[in-house]
Symmetry: C2
Subunit: 270 residues, 2 copies
């Protein structure tokens, strides 16, 4: 690893820590009530996202890096560089507002499209657990190497996105699988596949504009790939050329073992 790579990874780590601090402070602040109240009635609740995104921008300024920003709230923010930092300041905002302990900050550095992501880092905003990977150098959780698990249908654990926007076949998958989990936090669920805790993650909404964005998946995409797995959309098509914008949306099938990908194809889920 060049010193430049190492330095970039350390910047991502410090940015993730800055976001974690802001979210933790918000959770214990006297203003928490306002933020939570906004979430309670189901209206858009970007206040916490905005706080977290501001922390990212501030941290990037302090680090003196020229990376452009691609982030949910701010959109694309040119900052003079060639590389872009693709950010979901809080993946699982509703969970965070509700004290459901599944939310992350997701940071990916690269250019153009998912295949162009060089570094990915995701931090669990509850436990502080941090996953990262850089292209060609393996994937890690808190410094320990991780690998996906061999697929075994008898021991299968699948993460599936459900609810009234999910497609019929997403529901059918949840009905047929041996063990189903669902967290409402795409990056976390993809990382459960990356670390060998689960076999796959399936996200397909009937309303295509409610599918996932590059900001949700870019970091986990790199980490899962380095851990031995892969990511396609729910037609089984490669996402390598999926652009690093905030407009594009895609369904996601993330798998740890290509045998699981084949089984999903055979079952008509892709």
């Amino acid at each position: 690893m060049s010193s430049r790579d190492r330095s970039d990874l350390e910047v991502l780590y410090r940015v993730s820590l800055a976001v974690h601090r802001v979210v933790r402070d918000a959770a214990t602040s006297p203003h928490r009530g306002d933020v939570v109240a906004m979430g309670a009635d189901g209206t858009p609740t970007e206040e916490l996202d905005r706080l977290a995104e501001a922390a990212v921008l501030k941290a990037l300024g302090a680090e003196g890096v020229d990376w452009n920003l691609v982030s949910e709230e701010a959109g694309v923010v040119p900052r003079g560089g060639i590389d872009s930092l693709v950010v979901d300041p809080i993946d699982g905002t509703m969970n965070a507002l509700r004290n459901l302990p599944f939310s992350t900050v997701s940071l990916a550095l690269g250019r153009e499209n998912l295949a162009g992501i060089e570094l990915g880092l995701v931090r669990d905003l509850v436990r502080g657990t941090t996953w990262w990977a850089e292209r060609g150098r393996g994937a890690f959780v808190d410094g320990r190497p991780i690998r996906t698990r061999p697929w075994n249908p008898r021991g299968e654990v699948l993460f599936v996105n459900l609810g009234h926007r999910a497609t019929e076949r997403a529901v059918r998958l949840a009905e047929k699988s041996r063990r189903v989990r669902s967290l409402g936090c795409a990056s976390f669920e993809m990382l459960m596949v990356a670390q060998g805790s689960a076999d796959a993650y399936y996200f397909e909404n009937a309303e295509a504009h409610r599918n996932l964005r590059s900001t949700d998946i870019a970091a986990a995409y790199r980490i899962l790939s380095e851990a031995g797995g892969g990511v396609t959309d729910c037609r089984g098509a490669s996402l390598d050329r999926f652009p690093l914008t905030v407009e594009g949306r895609t369904s996601v099938f993330a798998w740890g073992d290509s045998k699981c990908l084949e089984a999903a194809r055979d079952g008509g889920y892709l």
Copy 2:
């Protein structure tokens, strides 16, 4: 609170800590590979449960209490007392073996049936977060009072047990609801309702002998009741008389607001 009550609660807390230590040690021991391998192929994996249960029995001996034990592996162990400790040493064993961060130890003290539970304590075996309640004295998480949330369909979050054993209407509920989560750890999911993070928890298997036991739900039942919610089976019938044995099984609908119970009835889910 009498000194006797306080003392009982402290015993439960220390027992939960003993289990937490054993599970943590198992996760970092050189033998972990064996335990995890047992889980990987989908065969029954009671090894970790047995370790945890042994820790409960040892802790009870050290505390000098005469409570009988009702526990998944050991069954009913008479120990000379009038009260029974109803224990799930690890709720979410598969999760624990897979490093999926949702597992608990669940401890309830009482007699005869769920209505006879006086004290309940549940500890998150990953984060150490601890919920408890005693009858008539409110419910707490790490010392802070908790309450269920008012039901609002637009902001609804439901925990639903899914997979190939779930009933058709459980799947239908997951298909119709606004936001669905699923963890494979009943006590944890019921406590998300108790602390106001979610609106309800629904568990109904087509194979009745795969439904939940008193050991899974006794502690969370008391905590949720004290937090302002309630628990029925999935026909809407009271579980107050559900006996504290390891043989009995029941479906579970746990709700935070009685309006949510009414909506579930109206929707044909109960």
